[in-house]
């Protein structure tokens, strides 16, 4: 027990007496961690942006005029039972007419054409939202039967198919790119942390030799360095939180306000996962790096 407390004491002494070196280590760790968080923020923004665009695309089914409400309700019920359908909204023929008028109120020609037709020329309309863009085809296919074709005059998806396919391809490419960049970023951060620890230990190589000559066991030499590295990680994660929250996230929040993306809430909701994960990762990486780096000099 005495040895355990002594190792912590030695680590603290080392950390504060080599303050310049400790600050350099903290700054390097901080840069790596802040970069990871900025990346996470952008990752979330990109993800939300794709989601927002996806949400804006819906599938509209236009029913023939005079179709019974019960038959439309039957179609709606069927669609609601599909797991691929997120929601449905039914607009009656009158609502469709009102929407048309509102949409074209600045266009007297369109309104006049309505008067010429006389009655309401529109049928009811069903607006569908799906869980994934991949599901549009499945739904369209499921509606492609004689029963439904008698009721449904037009499917708006037909007009957007090319755009949706393009968006789908962009979304999947962006996802792959984000994943690749995230992995690359984590790898670079790991290399930075590993090399920082290595440089730190390299600066103490003579001390390690002296400690050995005085009769210190390998454990007694290794652990203070490992713990010292842990202090650097703790400080850098704390500083990362202090920097990321007030500055970067608010900046991202303001910058992407138009997209209705709440980066701050995302970080708050996943606080322990994001920062806890970074703390744990950096601690483990630090322990691994310092053990290897110290071991190199211990075996000489």
């Amino acid at each position: 027990m005495i040895s355990f407390f002594r190792m912590i004491k030695f680590a603290a002494q080392h950390f504060f007496r080599n303050f310049g070196l400790s600050v350099v280590s903290i700054i390097i760790l901080l840069l790596a961690l802040v970069s990871v968080n900025i990346f996470l923020g952008f990752n979330y923004v990109a993800d939300r942006a794709i989601q927002t665009v996806q949400d804006k695309i819906d599938l509209s089914l236009y029913f023939y005029q005079g179709i019974e409400e019960s038959e439309i309700a039957h179609v709606q019920e069927y669609l609601n039972s599909l797991s691929t359908v997120k929601s449905t909204e039914l607009l009656s023929a009158d609502q469709v007419l009102e929407n048309f008028k509102t949409k074209h109120q600045a266009n007297p020609d369109m309104l006049r054409s309505l008067t010429e037709v006389g009655d309401n020329p529109f049928g009811a309309m069903l607006i569908l939202k799906v869980n994934s863009m991949d599901d549009y085809n499945t739904i369209i296919n499921s509606l492609d039967s004689d029963v439904f074709n008698k009721l449904i005059e037009k499917r708006s998806y037909d007009n957007h198919e090319t755009a949706i396919r393009k968006l789908e391809s962009i979304a999947s490419n962006v996802e792959i790119a984000l994943l690749a960049f995230t992995l690359l970023f984590i790898f670079i951060s790991m290399l930075i942390i590993y090399n920082t620890v290595k440089v730190m230990i390299y600066n103490h190589r003579e001390e390690i030799q002296i400690m050995k000559l005085v009769g210190a066991s390998n454990r007694f030499i290794r652990w203070p360095f490992v713990i010292e590295g842990m202090f650097a990680v703790l400080f850098s994660v704390a500083l990362t939180i202090l920097i990321v929250y007030p500055f970067l996230l608010k900046f991202l929040q303001m910058y992407f306000a138009d997209l209705n993306v709440d980066v701050l809430s995302y970080f708050q909701a996943n606080f322990y996962f994001i920062f806890g994960g970074q703390l744990l990762g950096a601690l483990l990486l630090n322990m691994f790096s310092s053990s290897i780096a110290v071991g190199r000099y211990l075996n000489r």
Partner: protein
Amino acid sequence: MIKLRQVSKFYDPDVVALNRLSLHITPGEFVSIVGQSGTGKTTLIKLLTAEEKADEGQMIIGGWDISDIHPADIPILRRQIGIIFQDFKLLPNKTVYENVAFALQVCGIGSKQINSLVDSMLKVVGLEGKHHRYPWQLSGGEKQRVSIARAMIHRPKILFADEPTGNLDVLNTREIIDLLLKINQFGTTVVLVSHDREIINSLRKRVITMDAGAVVNDQKVGRYIL
């Protein structure tokens, strides 16, 4: 106390640092080892402190055969011997007190006992009132005293001194040698490696002369002869 039988050390097949060296040092002796540079004096100290391993032969220290010492036992050996160097080898970020205390802390000794032992040892080496100074705030002579205090704090039976006065002026050299003699008078075996002819001649103690990795001269009351 120290027995070496036919000990050899090769750095390359062609570079022979020690060549079938044999010697016997009895408890309480003060032995000076002299020789030109590259004759194997420092290699001998490195083998005796288990910094390096001998390629051939047998080495016994205090009844312990360290010829093939296990790495885990090296710290235990070093806690039973004292070593001082020409370049002092003090921990730069520790104070005088902490440098000396470190040798006891690694053994797991309690803080109170360490306090009293370090205080009295610093008195013995004449460093009273300099507990909180860092190595860079000390003169060469003072640094070597800290080094001696650290080496002697756990009261070892043997003290190895590898060129301890190499970086010191005449006055400090004399003081350090007097301190080593005092330590020897208290019963510690001292093995001194030195180039200082005047010091060796003035000691009137046993002198072992080395050449090409072997003992070429061993006199009970010897002189520096090269």
